[in-house]
Amino acid sequence: MTIDTLRLTAEEAKGLLERREISGAELFAAYAEREDDLHAYLYRCEDPGGDGIPIALKDIISTKGVPTTAGSKILESYVPVFDATVAARCKEHGLRLLGKTNTDEFAMGSSTENSAFGPTHNPWDPTRVPGGSGGGAAAAVSGGLAPWGLGSDTGGSIKQPSALCGNVGLRPTYGTVSRYGAVAFASSLDQIGPVAKNVRDCAYLYSIISGRDENDSTTVDVPAVEVPNAEDLKGLRIGLPKEMNDAEGIEPGVRDAVRKAIELAESLGASVEECSLPLSVDYGLACYYLVAPAEASSNLGRYDGVRYGLRSDGADFREMLMHTRHDGFGDEPKRRIMIGTYALSSGYYDAYYGKAQRVRTVIKREHDAAFEKYDLIVSPTSPTVAFELGAKTADPLAMYLNDLLTIPSCMAGLPGLNIPCGLSEGLPVGLQLVGPQFAENTLFRVAHALEQALAFDVVPERLR
């Protein structure tokens, strides 16, 4: 039986396996034998056996006996001796690991070009980036190299690559998915979540990985996940934050595709109204680029050349430490460690980190107020479609602007889902749906109905 790995959904794969129309080994081989000319993977696994659906995991997720580098030279030879909780839950469900996907170093970036092991290419146009930091997983899913995968999202690292590669990605509510065994970047923001070809697969994978974990004390019990069926949006109230839909820098083609999707939502019965998040967008990026680097500077303190990871030579302990961190970290982690250290340092703490924490409260309150009137809010996921490789690497600030629309909800711990809603210049445009905390089922229901109505073809045009 020939498997079209570009089109086969995880749900369809499950059906084929259950009806014994294909063996687990044949299904695994269909993905494993496909050439990875996108550099989606950093490491591809041998078939671990069994009859489950294959899956790709971002190389931020610890996998016992399988290299886990976080895209960093400092972890190049690191092989975890334990599984992250999400990896263990995938195994318990019989999901078989295809490999570890490329990521910006320590998930810091928006294009996957900060990987120490070279960039990933966008399946729609290999001269362009797949987004980041989870560009590897997004490219694998859209490029026929995996039916689905897991990414991690701190300020947009699941949603934005899904937008740029044309697939479905969920950043779940903070605390719904265990971070145990995920290489830490910014602990009050990091969340693991699914990347899939459609909304039903996304919901199903979320049901597998979510829920309380005794190894992560920030996790909570999660409402039962409903795999969506609905095809109308009657009674749904959608808010359109004007600051997110009219933001400077949104490409006209992106604006048009998003506008059409919103009109479609209205025709399916939703009521749509403009609303406002006065400070969240204006101050969100500045808030994020203080809070996340501050937490990163603390989390990355663990790379000391002592217990695991790279060790460089040095005449004494301190010299070894400084050389190890110089040699092991790339430029982006270095920048963020230094910004974070600066923002937390004596004399600057109140003006930077302390202030950013108060802005975070404002962002949370503004979203809370919006959700008193609306079931969810909608905007483009990324202001632009996929950009050319190298276009923004020389200017860190220009790269940070990619996260303008994904960041505010991340600061408030809210769930956000990307679905593809059309093409601009032949490249996918992503629609971002954001709901109140624990509203994943609403996001799935709405996204599924829109997905049916939009009928977006998730297979990149050049590969059809």
């Binding site: 903070y174 605390g175 500045a286 303190g301 990871g309 004494d316 010299e319 110089h326 250290t341 949370k364």
Partner: protein, 101 residues
């Protein structure tokens, strides 16, 4: 919006070196120059938060309102020592070996 401004509020060369020392990062001269320019632009942009007067607003450190998650206080086995040392750059019996302090 988050304007990309090129006017340097600035971080001096000495401040870059000070922050790098605090973070235990060795930097080459070339890196100090490059990061001085890049960090100045970034710090200038994130200084935008100082425009707001938020003295009445409490800080948020964490997005969920949860407190004190307790676990049962039951002893469980730790990782076997060979696992603990599996990724160690250098080991001396049951110790991590490092250069003299």
């Amino acid at each position: 919006m988050f304007h990309v401004r090129r006017v340097m509020a600035g971080i001096s060369r000495d401040e870059v070196l000070h922050v790098a020392r605090l973070a235990r990062l060795e930097l080459t001269d070339e890196e100090v120059s490059k990061f001085q320019e890049q960090l100045s632009a970034i710090i200038d942009a994130i200084s935008k938060v100082s425009e707001l007067d938020l003295s009445d607003v409490p800080p948020t450190a964490h997005p969920l309102e949860i407190a004190n998650t307790w676990a049962e206080d039951e002893p469980r086995p730790s990782l076997p020592l060979d696992d603990v040392f599996a990724n160690a750059p250098d080991r001396d019996d049951d110790y991590f070996r490092v250069p003299p302090a």
